[in-house]
Symmetry: C2
């Protein structure tokens, strides 16, 4: 039996485009003699559709598309993800289903059992969990058809307090009783650090445990904050990876089931370096956001610092140098090299830029405020003022020419509130908001691994916001090597201050206080491209008014 | 048996304050000879604790407080809400529990069965549903102890496509088999339009259906966006309301169980007018946000329009006139009456204000941009520029003096994107972001029902953003009576454009297109006080990049 793995970037709710792409892949599979083609979870509508699932017309459209697609599945069967209305009058309205299409019709519908409802996942908001288990019979073989989390009954977790086993059931333990010949897993499983490695180990373990081949098809591409790496796989029954599809790109491969059962693989699929994965993920994230929003052009404020420099390189790689514009906006506190380094960078990237001095705007606003400030001495207010004037100019550029402002804040500064709301925290998309400062440096090194794209001075000089004379990040923050480690323990590992050991305890308390008191700023942050197991945004829900 | 209902405003994670308040109420109940005192859902930590529930130290603190409180519950028993660790190695880590404390110890722990995971609720994210049913025996009586949604197995819904019965179980159908003498329901059920009426009808129906008295204790006060109205009740077994606690205020009442079983009530508790409830809810929301965040003072930009006028009245009623400051920031497009009306309003409220002309700042910024705008004609860019300059000044005032900026956008304009990101969409809290413009007028009438607090000209003049010559809202939007009805059908009732009938279909399409294309602006909105069944924010999750 020949099985095609179709790894596609879907656009949520764009039924015309999704169905067209699905049909093209089915035709290709037919031409190449495949018996079966497998698509990813909720492929008809794209994942995650969120509250669009609460609209009747959306569910009807999903259903219509499934039946349209079924009609072309004659000799080649297809497995496609779509929501189904729960026929029981009680329980959630929908199931998250896998449709088995063959001979021009829907032959079987299998529902998802384990519904992730943690971090960025909210599936129990919409779906009733399945409780009946059937294999799908096809050409003399029995398929154990599972949907993403269905194979994740036991999964590694970052926080020591979190659960490995979030569910009472294990769908494969039920399905194995019906003696399936292979496992299919259709997924929409987003990327985060090391997650592709973890996925591999889960599928390999399942293949070994049940002594069955596993066909895993993941979604690829970005949906606002979430980046799906693809990396679909065919694994033989001994746990050997026979075939792996590309990371961060559409892909299509046909595998022979006999091979997965009989042969021992010698193929080797090495995981790319972590920073290369982050680099590729962020570019995929920018590309996806712009393409799906219908945007082409971006504007970035280049400060001379490493964050905006790395952001602009990623933007150019995602959108092309001709579509990225930089604004350099010096004030009296900007160092000369900030401008010259930024110009060098823009020239290295062959991109356009403008320089607007903000000093006069800054002075005029200060003057307008002087009547009510009444001689009070300058403080953080005037620092924020510069940052906000720059945002006003960037947004004016955006409004006039249609360029989307990219936010350049990193995760470390977003965490401790080292940024100005409606100032440098502005933008349509935050590129580095889930990248700790130490990883921004790693990205910079990765970008410069062959040639000096980022002027080395940008990487080597001490970080500074340049909002008052001789300011440095280290005036008010510890070294980023220390800061990032403490933040990781608190944010990703969800430890309490008492549990974070190996650092000065006053420092830990002070940093966590800063993280907590700046929740209100992050509440208004742009969407942040997610690359970690715990990004700021919808996957981390802290009550603003909490006192804890 | 004498039962005390303790309706308290908890502060999430503020264990010291919460336990102190709980202990005070227990002592009062003891002094007044109550046998039992009932608190609300998750009362030890306050509701909703969200992802703080994922921290080990937070759960340990909840547990410690429960045991501290238990020690003082000697002769008077107490029912208190707190999370419990699930002893089973599989399933979610926690239960959402009701603790029965008596004779100095924990006598029983009952877990919640029906976990709301819709709109603003995410309980399945944290909790395992209960599946074992036991009444609690106390002084010869059996208590059917339920937690909030446990009595909501069948509930009215706004959208026709949504489910009345979201759950497979009905906890009371299980508990009734053990012949309880009365029902206790501890709740944290937030306010929205007409919701207090719906709650009454649900509890009355349950009392009648099971022929049992119902003691219902709700949380009161605001937690960021969510406003809890209180309105706890004692209902006799015929469905008569014997006692109802105050709306939007702490309260305490003792009821006699014998009365609930034997007598027929003659008490009448009329529901206040809808707009009075909204008015009181918003004031509670502002008060709660400021008190819990540790803030005292607010600043509002007064434009001369009705939204900022109503916002400032509500702010003064919540915080006191001495704690609210207005900035009037005219430009060349501001009408004279905008300034004079705003001054009249500020004087009516006896509050301080300053006037800052933004013309010079506007001109300076335009000049700074002219080198790159290159003679392009003025457009929406320059309108946004004025709005953003005002936000910069308001935020500078906020930074310098510590006043929190209140956002004045209403739900109608937030819906269609009639607002400037980082301009008039700025603020620490959005007061009217869930109030349709037509309801803003109703609020204005309510505020002026006795004396003219809002200058009548502010109410009567045609709405305008005053960002270009002779601009009116009606230039680009239909009349608000029409707009709000269409928006309600789309947002609250979740209808598709085709299902929204009785309006010009091109108009419907155009409005819904505007709603969809402005999701990106609302993504960065401040927290919005929620008064409807579908507010913008965490209860409405639309994928930004969706094309639908």
């Amino acid at each position: 039996m020949k099985i095609a793995l179709a790894q596609i970037d879907y656009h949520i709710g764009n039924f015309l485009e999704n169905t067209t792409n699905i049909v093209l892949q089915i035709k290709r599979a037919q031409m190449e003699g495949a018996d079966l083609i497998v698509f990813s979870e909720l492929s008809v509508c794209g994942y995650p559709p969120l509250d669009l699932l609460e609209r009747k017309d959306f569910i009807e459209k999903c259903n219509n598309e499934i039946h349209k697609i079924a009609r072309i599945c004659k000799d080649t069967a297809a497995i496609i993800g779509a929501p189904t209305i729960n026929p029981n009058a009680k329980g959630k309205l929908l199931f998250n289903s896998a449709y088995f299409l063959y001979e021009g019709e829907v032959k079987a519908v299998i529902h998802k059992t384990l519904l992730p409802t943690y971090d960025i996942f909210d599936e129990y908001r919409y779906f009733e969990p399945n409780s009946e288990f059937h294999v799908v019979e096809f050409k003399g073989k029995k398929i154990a058809l599972t949907i993403c989390e269905d194979l994740w009954d036991d999964q590694p977790v970052e926080s020591e307090f979190a659960r490995r086993r979030l569910y009472m059931l294990n769908p494969m333990d039920e399905l194995i009783k019906q003696h399936p010949d292979f496992i299919v897993n259709i997924a929409a499983s987003p990327y985060s650090h090391m997650r592709s490695k973890i996925k591999k180990s889960i599928f390999i373990e399942k293949a070994k445990k049940y002594n069955l081949p596993v066909i895993y098809v993941n979604q690829v591409g970005a949906q606002t904050q979430l980046i799906f790496e693809g990396g679909s796989m065919a694994i033989d029954k001994t746990g050997g990876i026979i075939e792996q599809l590309k990371y961060f790109s559409n892909d299509f491969k046909i595998v022979n089931l006999d091979k997965l059962v009989k042969e021992k693989t010698t193929a080797v699929f090495e995981e790319p370096d972590r920073i290369k994965m982050v680099h590729d993920a962020l570019i995929t994230g920018i590309k996806g956001y712009f393409k799906k929003m219908g945007f082409y052009k971006a504007v970035v404020g280049l400060s001379g610092g490493i964050d905006s420099a790395v952001t602009v390189v990623l933007a150019v790689r995602a959108l092309g140098a001709e579509n990225v514009h930089a604004l350099l906006m010096p004030s009296q506190y900007s160092s000369d090299h900030s401008i010259s380094d930024s110009i060098d960078l823009a020239n290295n990237l062959q991109m356009k830029f403008d320089i607007i001095d903000i000093q006069k705007s800054f002075d005029t606003q200060k003057e307008a405020l002087s009547q009510i400030f009444n001689g009070q001495k300058e403080d953080i207010t005037e620092e924020n003022l510069q940052s906000r004037i720059r945002a006003v100019l960037l947004m004016a550029f955006s409004n006039k020419f249609g360029h989307i402002l990219l936010n350049t804040s990193n995760k470390s500064e977003a965490a401790v509130g080292y940024g100005t709301l409606y100032g440098d925290m502005s933008g349509g998309l935050s590129v580095l908001g889930d990248v700790y400062k130490t990883d921004v440096y790693e990205l910079a090194k990765f970008i410069n691994r062959k040639t000096e794209i980022l002027p080395v001075n940008i990487i080597e000089k001490p970080p500074s916001a340049e909002l008052k004379p001789n300011q440095k990040d280290s005036d008010s923050l510890p070294e980023y090597e220390i800061l990032d480690k403490i933040l990781f323990e608190f944010i990703e590992k969800q430890k309490s201050p008492d549990e974070i050991i190996g650092f000065d305890s006053d420092l830990v308390t002070d940093i966590i206080r800063k993280v907590n008191m700046n929740e209100y700023k992050r509440f208004q942050t742009p969407p942040i491209l997610r690359i970690s197991s715990k990004a700021f945004g919808g996957g981390r829900r802290i009550p603003l008014v909490a006192k804890y």
